[in-house]
């Protein structure tokens, strides 16, 4: 049964409409709705089904068509690109061309190294900081939290030049370290995300462990982190995608073709070879596949993580 016979006052306030227009929902209204008959509801169901079908077609086309174009072009023989959208015979030669013309495997390995280093740094460091900001009480915690939030909002250009100058002084420009080392100090967005999650873990668990004499490290690693597994997986996936797709930082810090990630590698390839659509789309498709697979595996974590970011 539906809960529509609650008092009208609440609805009146929430809806913000004039009181005169609002009828007090009564038992009679409920019965009237149910009595309105089956043919009515059948019609409405068909109508809403049709709307749903059109909607799904629209969404699938809008978001899927560019992906379909990428796949289709990557399978079209280069000579026929532009004259037909879907190839009669899939031509795998473009993939081969992409792999031989550019050192894609090298770029892939470089990117993977960065991903592994960054993701492991993030998932080790961020929970520790988040624990401090959620389950430990200390003076200055509020100020640190404020610092986390502010840095989340800070345009990266503001710090770019001194940070670059610092790496330059350390003779690390041109190596992967400027892309890795910052992650060992945590990343504000993930710290905030994990903190929000930790706040939802009942303090009773932490307190009980403290009473039993467990150290804070033990509480963190034995109790809080196991309970926060979904949040930590989300952070790991986010960081994977962030490192995988990052363009600006590798563009600034990597200068040697042998160290390029997929992003800058593909960019420099286009800069030097021009846009040869069929092999380029093949390279793009190969570049995209890992994020695809990752998304299929961890879809719910992605979606939930994005939600946390929004509902702060």
């Amino acid at each position: 049964m539906r809960t529509m016979t609650t008092d009208g006052i609440v609805h009146r306030r929430r809806l913000g409409g004039g009181p005169a227009r609002l009828k007090r929902p009564s038992r009679q209204v409920t019965e009237y709705r149910f009595a309105r008959g089956k043919e009515w509801s059948a019609l409405r169901r068909w109508r809403s089904r049709l709307i749903g079908l059109l909607a799904v077609l629209g969404v699938v086309f809008l978001f899927g068509a560019p992906l379909a174009v990428m796949i289709a072009t990557s399978l079209t023989p280069p000579a026929e690109v532009g004259s037909q959208f879907w190839p009669d015979q899939p031509a795998w030669e473009n993939y081969q061309a992409a792999l031989t013309q550019a050192p894609m495997l090298r770029y892939f390995m470089n990117t993977m190294v960065l991903v592994v280093l960054n993701v492991s740094a993030i998932i080790v460091v961020c929970p520790v900081i988040a624990y401090s900001l959620s389950k430990l009480r200390w003076r200055g915690r509020g100020a640190v939290l404020l610092a986390v939030l502010t840095t989340m909002m800070l345009p990266s250009q503001v710090t770019l030049i001194p940070v670059y100058a610092m790496w330059d002084k350390l003779h690390l420009v041109g190596t992967i370290w400027p892309l890795v080392i910052p992650h060992f100090f945590g990343y504000p967005f993930y710290i905030y995300m994990l903190r929000q999650f930790f706040l939802g873990i009942p303090n009773a668990y932490v307190e009980a462990a403290r009473v039993d004499g467990a150290s804070e490290w033990r509480i963190l690693f034995r109790i809080v982190i196991p309970m926060a597994k979904p949040a930590i997986i989300t952070v790991a996936l986010f960081q994977f995608v962030r490192t995988w797709t990052d363009f600006m930082a590798p563009l600034i810090y990597l200068q040697d073709n042998s160290k390029y990630t997929l992003s800058v590698g593909l960019y420099s390839f286009v800069q030097t070879h021009g846009t040869d659509w069929a092999p380029l789309m093949a390279a793009c498709a190969m570049f995209t596949v890992p994020t695809f697979v990752l998304f299929l595996i961890g879809q719910r974590y992605f979606v939930e993580g994005a939600t946390v970011g929004g509902l702060k």
Binding site: R14, R45, V125, Y131, R137, M166, G186, T245, Y267, A306
Partner: protein
């Protein structure tokens, strides 16, 4: 009586419910003021005096130690650089030689620099026109994906999100192909309907809308957030409104919109700040095949962030770039303050 909301399946609920259960803007000022808050998250904090003091101090030390990585990182990568950027903005600096003090010259140069205004214009276009359009499109997509009778809803939702996590280089090149004037998919499809479409990537009037168009494809993050917000609107409110004779439009105005307003404000702030730094897509669209032009034809895609990058790493005029960056910082700050003010006024008015 079962509340209508529980009809939703369990898997629909966010695992990270802890966070989403908190209302929007939950981070209150009291929370930021830290440990002094009375009745903090700890229910049993009234422990006997002597022992409490000892654990409190231990906890304070531990708290500081646990936060240390962030504190060090904050100093090295944020706090000191911001101050140094301000200093460098008053100097001439090219990395190789030590900075030379020139006073306000960088700032006066900026205000006389044609490209400064042009790039700022592009960034503002993408920010103040692109972000509202993006939010509207994201909300519309979310409402479609939230329709109750929709076949293959899970698939459609996944598909709408995927473009958001595709590498930006791929997105840019893919759309360079799709928006291609002659053979691109978009103009071919528009041609079927007899619409003679512009050359998106060469015609200066359509080049900036093209960037917004691309950003709409990758709107998935916004959509997902709106989907969660839409699902958290109590169903009985809709039923009550329907009962009172509200059509879909009035249901949206009176029920949906007030409920998702806080999420919208948050997304607006994040979106504006992100777009003030717009770099990747315009840069990738604008960098030509064999040459090193920036910003594409007529430098229409030259955003402010691209200009900073170009001044810093193309000309190695780091001092001037620092001044430009510092101006960006001020713009971001002013913008955030304005939005928060406006939001508070709206809150008070209600």
């Amino acid at each position: 009586m079962i509340p209508a909301r529980s009809r939703r399946s369990q898997t629909d609920r966010p695992v990270l419910a802890a966070a989403s259960r908190r209302p929007a803007n939950a981070l209150s000022r009291a929370e930021l003021s830290g440990s002094e808050r009375p009745g903090d998250e700890r229910p049993g904090s009234e422990r006997p005096g002597g022992k409490r003091r000892g654990t409190g101090r231990r906890e304070a030390r531990q708290g500081f130690i646990f936060a240390l990585p962030f504190l060090i990182g904050f100093a090295i990568f944020y706090f000191v650089p911001i101050v140094v950027t301000l200093y460098l903005s008053f100097t001439e600096f090219n990395i190789l030689q030590s900075p030379k003090w020139i006073g306000l010259e960088n700032y006066t140069r900026a205000f006389g620099d044609e490209r400064f205004y042009k790039s700022l214009g592009t960034t503002f276009y993408l920010t103040f026109i692109g972000v509202p359009i993006g939010l509207g499109f994201g909300l519309a997509t979310a409402m479609i994906l939230n329709l109750r009778r929709m076949p293959a809803r899970g698939f459609a939702r996944a598909l709408a999100y995927v473009p958001a996590i595709i590498p930006v280089v791929v997105t840019a090149y893919l759309f360079r192909w799709i928006l291609n004037g002659r053979h691109g998919l978009l103009n071919t499809v528009l041609g079927w309907f007899g619409i003679s479409a512009p050359n998106w990537l060469l015609d200066p009037t359509w080049m900036r809308p093209a960037v917004i168009l691309i950003s709409l494809w990758a709107v998935g993050g916004t959509t997902v957030i709106y989907l969660a917000a839409l699902r958290s609107v109590p169903t009985d409110l809709y039923e009550a409104a329907e009962l009172d004779g509200c059509g879909p439009v009035r249901r949206f105005i009176h029920v949906t919109w007030p409920s998702i307003l806080p999420v919208t404000v948050f997304q607006l702030i994040v979106g504006l700040l992100a777009n003030l730094q717009a770099f990747d897509v315009p840069y990738l669209l604008g960098s030509g095949d064999f040459n090193m032009t920036i910003g594409g034809p007529g430098e229409t895609w030259l955003t402010y962030a691209i200009y900073i990058y170009h001044v810093a790493f193309g000309y190695f005029r780091m001092g001037y770039a620092a001044a430009l960056a510092w101006l960006l910082f001020l713009i971001a700050l002013v913008l955030t303050v304005i939005i928060l003010r406006l939001t508070r006024e709206v809150d008070n008015a209600e």
